[in-house]
Amino acid sequence: MKSTKFTPERNISKAETDRKWWEIGDFFRRNSLWLLMYCTGCCAIELPPAMTSAYDMERLGMGPMATPRQADILLVSGYLSLKTLRRLIYTYEQMSEPRYVVALGSCPINGGIYHDSHAVINQLDQYVPVDVYVAGCMPNTEAVMNGFVDLMEQIKNKSANGWKKYHDNYEWYRQNQIQSLGEVDVHDEFHD
């Protein structure tokens, strides 16, 4: 229905409007990234200096978030055992989109010093898409901060597409998860 007031004719397509809104959304998103810290391994020790006054990630608009539903980044700091990976996949699937994954340390990249362990997976991006890897064992705090800045840059360039990849290749990820985990669902005394 036309309003009685003067409304200029809109000839913008839906896709175009969406793109604009995404741009606006991405701008705000990248300037207020909330972390869900999944401190699995020793790399987590780099977070206290990154969060406190030494490097102060608050100045980038980043802060910790207690629940996966409201977090933007899933931060995997260090090695992941099979048991943790199950919970990580749960957590990842609980997060609302768009969601990003940052992995610290060489353990999620290629297994690091745990490459021959029966309990630790070797390559995280086989199971969930990873947007930023920060290499090092452990990466120093500058590198960690740089990783976050890289992620912001990626969001700006629209190349932080891990979550879309997870949608498109869900079958492939699922298959890898099943191959390594047997079953993704958690069955233990606390869940059954």
Binding site: G111, S117, H118, N122, Q123, Q126, Q179
Partner: protein, 195 residues
């Protein structure tokens, strides 16, 4: 206990007067271990518990594939006389069964589950020693046995990252530097105006 007796001596007396000790070792004034026969473990643990070693600190196993034995290690602790006492015993490796010590130390429930999971030792008497505790959906031989190969397992189960066979040759770094230097000089030479 007479005052002239140290805690370790007290334990030695207590254990040796009750069971046949196959081997003993005194690590320091806070730690001793005794190797006993398999069927005397419960008896000696009972005596130790009544003498004040009320805390079951740990129970685990050691794999000795050459001897074809598992060595079970029970560690108990006394808060009045601070000595860790380890009671060790060797059991058969092919069919590892050890009666549970649940009636003596209820806290051993989870240690027995853990030991069953990592070594495959069975603990009849413990109602859920077979339940999984740490590993989930384990599908191989117990992983702490010496004949388990973690690397092969890791290769089989977890995808490995592929690396291409190209390397960066370190000495190239120098020629790069030289190139940069040359470029700089050329830029310098092209620059007009005042120096």
């Amino acid at each position: 206990m007479t005052n002239s007796m140290t805690n370790v001596e007290f334990v030695q007396n207590l254990v040796k007067s009750n069971v046949n000790v196959l081997q003993e070792h005194i690590t320091d004034q806070y730690q001793v271990h005794f190797v006993v026969e398999q069927d005397q473990v419960h008896y000696i643990l009972n005596i130790l518990k009544n003498a004040g070693w009320i805390q079951m600190s740990y129970l685990s196993a050691i794999d000795w594939p050459e001897e074809n034995k598992f060595e079970l290690v029970y560690i108990v602790f006394n808060w009045e006389k601070p000595v860790y006492v380890q009671i060790r015993t060797k059991i058969d490796r092919e069919n590892p069964v050890m009666n549970s010590i649940l009636p003596i130390y209820p806290g051993s429930k989870y240690y027995e589950r853990e030991c069953h999971e990592f070594f495959g030792v069975k603990f009849p008497g413990n109602p859920d020693y077979e339940k999984q505790l740490i590993l989930e959906n384990w599908d191989d031989i117990p992983p702490m046995r010496k004949d388990f190969d973690p690397e092969a397992y890791s290769k089989r189960k977890f995808p490995q990252r592929e690396y291409s066979e190209t390397y960066i040759v370190q000495s190239e770094g120098k020629s790069k530097l030289a190139k940069m230097e040359a470029r700089k000089q050329r830029a310098e030479s092209l620059r007009g105006g005042k120096k």
